[in-house]
Amino acid sequence: MTKTDDTLRAPSRRGFLKSGIAVGGALAAAPLAGRAMASEGDPAILEKKDWNQYLGDGVDARPYGHPSEFEAHVVRRNVGWLTADPVSSVNFTPLHELDGIITPNGLCFERHHAGIAEVDPAEHRLMINGLVDRELVFTMQDLMRFPRENRVYFLECAANSGMEWRGAQLNGCQFTHGMIHNVMYTGVPLKYLLEEAGLKTNAKWLLPEGADAAGMTRSVPLQKALDDCLVAFRMNGEALRPEQGYPVRLVVPGWEGNMWVKWLRRIEVGDEPWHHREETSKYTDLMANGKARRFTWEMDVKSVITNPSPQAPILHDKGFTVLTGLAWSGRGTISRVDVSIDGGRNWRPARIDGPSLGKSAHRFYYEFDWDGSPLLLQSRAVDSQGIVQPTKDALRAVRGTNSIYHNNGIQTWHVKSGGEVENVEVS
């Protein structure tokens, strides 16, 4: 997308819509070709469109379907200055363009450390070695012969909202909160694979490893693997996308995305953690006093209003308004979401609609009559463990501003009287 993309620029999009209406009005008033009399009304109704008259593409034209050309602005975007190189970088899910709880596969944010590995499934193997009775190798066909499960989980990068620790920076929930996606996985419980290999009694930790050029590794406690980890080969029904780890990835529900090793090729079983680069240099949370938390796995309760938001301004005049957003917790379900339109002075319960599943995104709505005056929008989620989403100041009071990871603070959007929205912080 270029600078001319008006969906990013609230005023121009608004202006465009207004001028569209103006042109339509002028056309409607003018005499129409081939008509004796001018009709009054909306040209979208009065004029015949091409698609009303002429034939469209046949069933052989789009063997794998794509979104409408009018949705071309709905894409993942990256932030060039964040990293040195796009092959070890991140792009962001366009949350403000989505509804419901499921993220379409092509819009799931990407984070990889050595580019997208293009793995031939016929040449892919999954090895289990270390503290097991039998060190085993599985082909993809082997994996698909184990009993499968279907589960919807969110995957959030621990660094989601990490740019906002020092204050409001990025204008758009795509950039402040878009390192998350929510997908239905089909896969084999990791427990079955480990049992097949036979765990030794001193087994306590796992080291999943990726087949990409980063050789991604993380230490995962065995208890988590036996609890709910999946070795997944499908997302939303179809094969994993290459950028999400095709042909097989680890699913570590509720825990930071970096642990969900993609292009999974090996799982070592051990008795101690490995303290590899991604759990020492990275994904440790530096506190103000210079000490750092390690093994901060769970993604805490969090929510964000996706509409309105800076990339999705209010385009109508005052009146009935639908506010919506997402809430999630790595520790269970969301028991409630409250919304404030006055910067946290007063709160109202939002309405959660759609499935409420553990460690999955929840969709909430708050409908209200906008009087056209400026608003300070906030959402605050509470999870089934009773943990309340904190304010950013409450987080900073405990953790300082250097921790990069695990920023689950309450987001504020400032809606101006014209409907334009900006990312702010409030007292």
């Binding site: 993309d5 975007r77 990256n78 060039g80 964040l82 040195a84 190189d85 970088s89 984070r111 450390h113 050595a114 016929a122 040449e123 090895m127 270390g130 039998r134 060190e135 085993l136 190798v137 599985f138 012969r145 660094a159 990490g162 740019m163 204050g167 990025l170 204008n171 758009g172 950039f175 079955y192 049992e195 290999a197 490893e209 050029a213 050789g215 090996r266 101690e272 490995w274 303290h275 990275k282 440790t284 210079g290 750092a292 390690r294 093994f295 901060t296 769970e298 805490d300 800076p310 409250d338 007063n346 509470v382 309340v388 953790r399 250097n402 990069i404 400032h414 990312n423 912080e425 007292s427």
Partner: protein, 222 residues
């Protein structure tokens, strides 16, 4: 042999001389790995030295290899070129406004340095270094970080676990939840603050992609 087996799968099966499912597991799926297969993939190193291969390398050899294979991104002294990662320095910065996390200032264990370089570097040419080269580069990075001061220092499998990194003690286990829960009372619903003022705007520091002022700003994703 099934006629559905693809030639590649057939070759792979023949190459290892095993086609039968292993005995013992509940489902009887998969096959036992050969020793060579495990050795080919099992390259991980732990802080206690588990996994280290035989080998050795000294600071001056390391300096040469580093200049040739690493310095184009990380700088001759590990100072980092442009936005590529900084590998040395940063001592005493961890509690400052701009912490510089390096092997010397932040990393708790030397084994991580060996393991990571061996598995992932040089960037774009992973797993192309010999054990002696990785020992030598690791020795050089210890020297650049003032963990060793002798420029003749040689690192080997034998003396590896004697080296401790200075920041090891400064990591602690996750204490969360460290913010309010319902046990602290129900969240406030009305008149929660006297007044609300905007204290900061992203506008002021507009680093949003596609905006006019696409400048690097504070913050990082990892």
């Amino acid at each position: 042999m099934s006629k559905f087996l693809k030639p590649a799968a057939l070759l792979a099966a023949l190459a290892v001389g095993v086609t039968a499912a292993h005995a013992g597991g509940k489902f009887g799926l998969g096959r036992e790995a050969t020793k060579d297969e495990v050795a080919a993939w099992d390259i991980d190193i732990r802080p206690d030295g588990t996994g280290l291969p035989d080998g050795k390398g000294n600071v001056s050899d390391g300096e040469e290899i580093f200049a040739e294979r690493c310095a184009v991104c990380h700088g001759d002294f590990g100072e980092g070129v442009d936005r590529w990662p900084v590998l040395a320095g940063g001592h005493g910065t961890l509690s400052s406004d701009r912490p510089v996390k390096t092997i010397g200032s932040y990393w708790p264990y030397l084994s991580t340095v060996y393991d990571y370089i061996n598995r992932a570097m040089p960037f774009g040419e992973a797993q192309s270094l010999t054990p002696d080269e990785v020992y030598a580069i690791t020795a050089y990075l210890l020297y650049m970080n003032d963990v060793v001061t002798d420029d003749e220092f040689e690192l080997s499998k034998e003396n590896f676990t004697e080296i401790r990194l200075p920041n090891e003690e400064n990591f602690f286990e996750d204490p969360r939840p460290d913010t309010a829960t319902l046990r602290d009372g129900d969240p406030c619903m009305s008149n929660c603050k006297d007044k609300v003022e905007i204290t900061m705007r992203a506008h002021v520091l507009d680093v949003t992609p596609d905006s006019e002022d696409d400048e690097a700003a504070a913050g990082s994703i990892d």
